[in-house]
């Protein structure tokens, strides 16, 4: 098997997962396409080292998560410098999510409610957000999340619990 054909195999097997993962992080199809490209360029640079399929999947997961988080950090920095004169920093995450929300996996009738939920997810610290998205959207088990994030099972449990608590509190507040 040539290098290019095996890279195509890797792309065929994992592109859906990567694209949806990026989409759930950035909630914008254009950004998710860019990030998917970034992820596979990185995968191409180093995929020769990986033989076992399980390790490859975990590795691609990690690349996708880190690439998405880096993108969000850069985006936040950019918008902060733009908006810092007009609004306090704490309100930015929700604002950004609501205005740029373009998730092709969300049905039109659920758009508003989903955008609001993602707004609160975006306000979570990076690790809590990752754990929650892996669990709720990717359907990964606690063990798999721990492996992908490189933390213990207990740590994942704690991250999920804090994330859910935050969501309950924030959604309760926005309801009341």
């Amino acid at each position: 098997m040539t290098e290019e054909s095996s890279f195509k195999d890797v792309y065929d097997r994992h592109s859906r997962m990567v694209y949806n993962l990026c989409l759930n992080y950035v909630q914008n199809s254009d950004d998710a396409q860019e990030l998917t490209q970034d992820v596979f360029v990185k995968v191409h640079e180093g995929f020769e080292k990986f033989r076992g399929d399980a390790a490859l999947r975990t590795w691609i997961h990690r690349i996708a998560i880190n690439t998405s988080l880096d993108h969000l950090k850069a985006q936040k920095r950019q918008k902060r410098s733009l908006f810092s004169l007009f609004r306090p920093a704490g309100h930015q995450a929700e604002h950004v999510a609501a205005s740029d929300f373009d998730h092709p996996g969300v049905l039109l009738e659920n758009r508003e409610a989903t955008a609001r939920i993602f707004g609160h997810i975006n306000a979570l610290p990076a690790q809590q957000k990752t754990a929650l998205l892996m669990k709720s959207m990717e359907g990964l088990s606690q063990n798999e999340i721990a492996e992908v994030m490189g933390v213990s099972n207990k740590a994942v449990e704690s991250l999920l619990s804090r994330a859910r608590q935050h969501m309950r509190k924030e959604l309760g507040r926005s309801e009341g």
Binding site: K8, V18, L23, Q37, V41, T114, S136, R168
Partner: protein, 92 residues
């Protein structure tokens, strides 16, 4: 929205396929990156050239430093031109 309903709403988010042209774009990006990266032979040639310059400089400078101080050449020139090389104002 009920307090616990948010996870149900997230579950309703469908998984979508990436656009069909994405792989072509990725291939193009990989090709551009590898074209803009300097080849190994060029990198080796540059490193060798810099090493050569360093060695030549070392070979030329080190013997001069070893052989009786750094003012030797200057002193020779000054003496040949009859110029004083100390702070004495008058010759004895």
């Amino acid at each position: 929205m009920e307090k616990e309903n948010w996870s149900n709403i997230l579950e309703r988010v469908q998984r979508v396929d990436p656009p069909p042209f994405l792989f072509t774009r990725i291939e193009a990006r990989i090709a551009t990156r590898s074209a803009s990266r300097p080849s190994t032979s060029w990198v080796t040639a540059t490193v060798l050239a810099m090493l050569l310059v360093l060695v030549v400089n070392t070979v030329l400078i080190v013997p001069g430093l070893k052989g009786g101080g750094r003012n030797n050449a200057g002193e020779g020139i000054a003496l040949s031109m009859g110029i004083q090389i100390n702070n004495q104002l008058y010759n004895d």
